[in-house]
Symmetry: C2
Subunit: 358 residues, 2 copies
Amino acid sequence: MHAVIMAGGRGTRFWPRSREKKPKHLLDIVSNRTIIQETVDRIKPLIKPKNILIVTGRKHARELMRQLPEVPAKNILIEPIGRNTAACIGLAAVHIQKKAKDDVMVVLPSDHGIGDPERYRTVIAAAARVAEKENTLVTIGIQPTSPHTGFGYMEGGASIGQVAGHALLRVKSFREKPDRRQAQAFLQSGNFFWNSGMFVWKASTILNEIERFLPDLYSGLMTIKSSLGKSSEAKILSTIYKGLTPISIDYGVMEKAKDVFVIPASFGWSDVGSWDALWEISSKDGRGNALAGGSQAIFESTENALVYSPNKLVALVGMKDVIVVETKDALLICKKGRSQDVKKIVDALAAKKLTQYL
Amino acid sequence: MHAVIMAGGRGTRFWPRSREKKPKHLLDIVSNRTIIQETVDRIKPLIKPKNILIVTGRKHARELMRQLPEVPAKNILIEPIGRNTAACIGLAAVHIQKKAKDDVMVVLPSDHGIGDPERYRTVIAAAARVAEKENTLVTIGIQPTSPHTGFGYMEGGASIGQVAGHALLRVKSFREKPDRRQAQAFLQSGNFFWNSGMFVWKASTILNEIERFLPDLYSGLMTIKSSLGKSSEAKILSTIYKGLTPISIDYGVMEKAKDVFVIPASFGWSDVGSWDALWEISSKDGRGNALAGGSQAIFESTENALVYSPNKLVALVGMKDVIVVETKDALLICKKGRSQDVKKIVDALAAKKLTQYL
């Protein structure tokens, strides 16, 4: 079994901590390990580091190697340019085929948090068993705990049975990010699951589906595959990638494929998608105040605050629903519930050419 | 004419900028000059630096000398211990009598802001003329612009006439900090003025009043006076001060004295008493956001914010009515309107023995 960790994201919503040079997964936001270190730590008991591939961009490869010394350097696959998840996953699949003929690959985002890693591994192992036996696309669906409008949803269909104590369903439909009303309905029905972006399948299975639904990508991947290990490898990779149309695996393959299964699961998943999400998963005092990163704070008449300030004492007076993030050169004060708009700050900085803060 | 600048306050409400070692008047909060530098700059065209006395505590004398090189070192009068304003003013009066037999003394707080210094000087000059001629206690009363509950008020009485174009009234009564309803009534009546803590009188006049209403203080001051310039001066000052009962000039003398005059004035006075007061006197953008100390900020859906962060870029998202103050080692986030409670943070720091932040 192989793991493929997709580490191409930028995570601008974690500004001012996340920067172009240090996207979210390279930061120690949730614990004193970085998010990608936690991702590797979590899957390691199931998949040896020599079988963990990480797909990333050139800028972050060195830092990844530094953070993950147990992962062989050759397992860090560098995309010359980001072309969304279909290309990323396809590239990993051809590398796996080259290395192991065919194998189950567990595709994992690099930047999610999991509250119950043991349960998480049993679900992954169960999904791998199905993918191996049935040659199908298997997804992990997260039981929603709120009517979240920031995630895609999967609708559960016919039951296929049980695998290692976990339900296995056919996916009836994929739904893009819903509006509030729809999300409420999804939550109430009990039959919709968050698309976690975790996929389990054999390399051959996904390549077959790519061949069917994304033939141009497939043909590019085959050219890349035949160049692997040759002197032309880097040049061909670069040429092919330039010509690829960016498309997500969800939109390009999953929504169109016939046999997609889902294992509904609950293991304390969080996409750690924003400072708000970090507040959600943080432990809080009786008034809802959370400290991250070993911060020291004094709360006076203050509720539901998240403070990340490892270097300075923070005092809050009369504040409610606020996120405070302090870094070496920048400071963010954000109303809780508005942290999606941190992206706008990054856009404003770019527009003002304040590149040192990007 | 002499000026007496009272520089004994601590200004804890400007934490985290104000610290035990650097009280408010030693900080450049309003402009790039410190508040006491502005106070001296403002009175200098009227009173030469050699006639400006500054009364302070031992801890801050050196920094005062550094900030005010034009004021002779011997004009920095050091109180061995703070004993409130009656003692402070009495001490200055005996020094002035020693130096100039008798003279008008203009008593000024060290830590106020004035929007229109020229107008301010014409009022002071007019008050000095009255004090010289009439041998009375003259106060400057600020025309209130809001029903402020944080100031004492003076009620205007009979008109004494005009002096250099300024009205001169007898003070009918002194009123301590009113409640909201009372303050509203004061504001509406048009006949109540904020007690600015600025007083103008001859040294002999105030000493006579002290003799009458605070005989113990008077006798101590006379002992001090006779020791001035002698080797015993420091020791006697210390002994006398230890035995003094702290009392304010307002409570100890002004409220009891018979002939107290007031010149009502409007010259953009602010006590700069809190971060809220600083927001009030700061220039703001169209959404009420103010930058102090050369701060750089990006405001996203943010209104009525005050940002003091000279060293770090600050981004605010979805915030309303907030004060953000950044210093080398501490950070304050305070709801606008709550900055009186910054004092509670200082108390909490003391209780937690986090003395490095005091």
